[in-house]
């Protein structure tokens, strides 16, 4: 007897080797094929479980990426400053105004500042025909910060001062066109009780942050808008950070500036990065929740496997008795049945993975998301399948191993 065989037979080495595993796997496949119907039914639970794990995790992943993409489109190097002071006070020593915007632009972490203020106003399209659009007061930095592109004309310039010039959004232009007015540079429009001269028309691709729907807005010089609004208070200031500056560093500097220059004025600094971080936190929570739901499906599948394996053990008592008579140890029997449940679960895992990935492809196509292959979801899914196979196969395998060979043979 060679040394290894002796060690194996003495129990010093596990009764497992590459060839032994192959032999067990082959035996397991034969065992499963011999009772195909039951195997398929047992498989169904695991397939559904794994498919849901993979589909839910992958969809969660894709959804997160989509959301991040949207936030990133807002500009990860931008922050917005809003006044959140208590407005019930009659006398407020400081309000967020254009001077603050100018000062903010000079901070070390800030590259450019774009103050803005808006309201709604009626645009006269001719006769009784008028429509409500947003009047947004901006300065020249707005175009650069939000990467505006123009179809015609130019953007608001620092030389416009208080002159009633306007840059109109693409939908405003469309409305004018359908009302019979050509939205060309030089055209005068009646908007919110004032006359404005169009100096530029935005491209339909132009979009900006927050609630500024520039396609349905008429952009005017900030001074003009503030006068129309009858205030010096800005709605907010959008800031572009210097390259490689973290939003928290900038936030600290901004807050410090307001504490110093405008005590009593409280501002919030919003950052898409912060939103992304918050969302990722929520998504992680969501993933745990989805994982738990899928986990329940897997446990149900696991019980299906256990049931099938118990039936298999009962059915194959004679076989167990024969094997024991031929020299199989309890451990050999246990490994044999564990191999069957594991093969069943790995097979279920692979089929489940294919179905799960297929489901995410369909969902992505329907919703219009960019499909992403989540390696971690597939690895997790299949690994879980193996764990489920071993965990739920353990009890039936133990039962098979502990079967008294005499009883097993006598029953037949």
């Amino acid at each position: 007897m060679n040394a290894r065989a002796e060690l194996i037979s003495q129990g010093a080495l596990p009764f497992l080797s590459g060839s032994m595993l192959m032999a067990h796997a082959k035996e397991a496949v034969k065992g499963l094929v011999s009772n195909l119907q039951r195997s398929v039914l047992a498989l169904a639970g695991i397939v559904i479980g794994i498919a849901s794990v993979i589909a839910l995790l992958t969809v969660g992943n894709i959804a997160r990426n989509e959301a991040i993409k949207q936030f990133e489109a807002l500009g990860t190097d931008l922050v917005s400053v809003f006044d959140v002071s208590d407005r019930s006070q009659e006398e407020r020593p400081h309000v967020l105004d254009i001077n603050h915007a100018t000062a903010l632009a000079n901070l070390s972490t800030i590259q450019a500042a774009s103050p803005y203020a808006y309201d709604s106003a009626e645009l006269v399209l001719g006769g009784d025909n008028y429509q409500s659009f947003r009047r947004v007061g901006v300065n020249e930095a707005f175009a650069n910060i939000h990467e505006m592109s123009l179809l015609d004309g130019r953007f608001i310039s620092p030389f416009d001062g208080r002159r009633p010039f306007a840059v109109i959004g693409s939908e405003v232009a469309d409305e004018m066109r359908s009302a019979g007015t050509m939205p060309t540079v030089g055209t005068n429009i009646r908007f919110g009780g004032s006359i404005y001269t169009i100096v530029g028309v935005l491209d339909h691709r132009a979009s900006a942050t927050q609630d500024l729907r520039v396609e349905r807005a008429v952009l005017v010089p900030i001074q003009v808008a503030l006068r129309a609004l009858g205030t010096r208070e800005l709605t907010g200031v959008t800031l572009r950070l210097e390259p490689d500056v973290h939003y928290l560093t900038a936030t600290n500097e901004i807050q410090a500036y307001f504490q110093r220059a405008a005590p009593g004025l409280y501002v919030n600094v919003h950052s898409p990065v912060r939103l992304i971080e918050q969302m990722e936190k929520q998504m992680r929570l969501f993933a745990v929740l989805l994982g738990a739901v899928a986990g329940i499906a897997l446990v149900v599948g696991g019980f299906g496997i256990m049931n099938a394996m118990l039936a298999s053990v009962t059915e194959r008592r004679t076989e167990i008795g024969i094997r024991r008579a031929l020299g199989a140890r309890q451990r050999d029997i246990q490994i044999q049945f564990l191999a069957e449940s594991s093969v069943l679960c790995v097979l279920g895992g692979l089929i489940g993975a294919v179905i799960g990935i297929g489901a995410t492809l369909i969902i992505s196509a329907v919703v219009g998301w960019t499909w992403l292959f989540s390696v971690s979801a597939v690895v997790l899914g299949v690994a879980t399948a193996v764990v489920v196979g071993l965990a739920f196969g353990y009890f039936p395998a133990r039962q098979a191993a502990r079967l008294d060979p005499i009883t097993a043979l006598r029953d037949s």
């Binding site: 007897m1 065989a5 194996i8 008579a325 031929l326 020299g327 140890r329 309890q330 451990r331 043979l409």
Partner: protein
């Protein structure tokens, strides 16, 4: 765990598939001393046999006869290390099995014993050679060598043409030959056959007995046959009877 019976007197071998267990020198293959067996169901204790003394030596061909319910099969299970006696001691090749655990007994069954059952007990999913190769697999032996050895053994029992047939594709006699090949493939010291011809017709029974005789005379196989058929029993050189729980020679 000490490996029973192998230490010091192992046959030299070329590979793991050739390994087999040999009894210690000058020791009987099997020795039952004062063996008894009883079952207790509730308050009732039923004695199957008591104080059985039995010795099987190398090269013996022994038959054990007895009426239905006389405890023949229980005796065979005890001799085959599948069951433990209620009293007395059993020594296989000079090794007392009393203190052996399940792993050691399994290994001893695998290397020291070969079983032939009345209803053949072949695994239906496996073909003839795979069935025969099973005892070798439980020694950790695999590969081409195992297959060759199983096929050689099937050829010896006259089934060279049926290597890849499944049990359902074989006649009763052929199935029993596969079972005999499986019992012999590991070169056991003792072959135990429980009613080996019980499920076969007269002609096939005679063929199987011819095979046993040939194995005993040519291969020096040691055989214990349990039967209720006198025609089978008288072909063995030693005849034992299990009567009223006692062995008569």
């Amino acid at each position: 765990m000490k490996w029973p019976g192998i230490k010091g007197n192992r046959a030299s071998s070329k590979g793991s598939t050739q390994d087999h267990w040999l009894p210690e020198a000058d020791q009987p293959i099997l020795k039952l001393s004062g063996v008894s067996k009883h079952f207790t169901v509730g308050p009732v204790r039923t004695s199957i046999f008591h104080n059985i003394h039995l010795q099987v030596n190398a090269g013996d061909m022994v038959s054990i006869m007895g009426a239905s319910g006389s405890g023949k099969s229980t005796l065979m299970n005890i001799m085959g290390l599948l069951d433990r006696p209620s009293g007395g001691s059993i020594a296989l090749g000079g090794q007392n099995i009393a203190s052996m655990d399940d792993n050691a007994l399994s290994a001893l069954r695998n290397r020291g014993l070969g079983f032939v059952f009345q209803s053949f007990f072949l695994l239906p999913r496996l073909c003839a050679w795979e069935n025969v190769a099973l005892p070798l697999a439980y020694r950790g032996a695999h590969g081409v060598e195992v297959r060759e050895q199983a096929e050689d053994m099937l050829s010896k029992v006259g089934l060279a043409e049926r290597l890849a047939h499944r049990p359902t594709e074989l006649s009763g006699g052929q199935q029993q030959r596969v079972a005999i090949a499986r019992a012999l493939v590991g070169s056991p010291a003792l072959l135990l056959a429980d009613e080996p011809t019980g499920a076969l017709d007269a002609e096939t029974s005679r063929e199987i007995m011819d095979l046993f005789e040939r194995l005993n005379s040519d291969e020096k196989a040691t055989l214990v046959l349990i039967t209720h058929d006198y025609a089978i029993a008288r072909r063995c050189e030693r005849h034992l009877r299990l009567v009223d729980g006692e062995i008569e020679e």
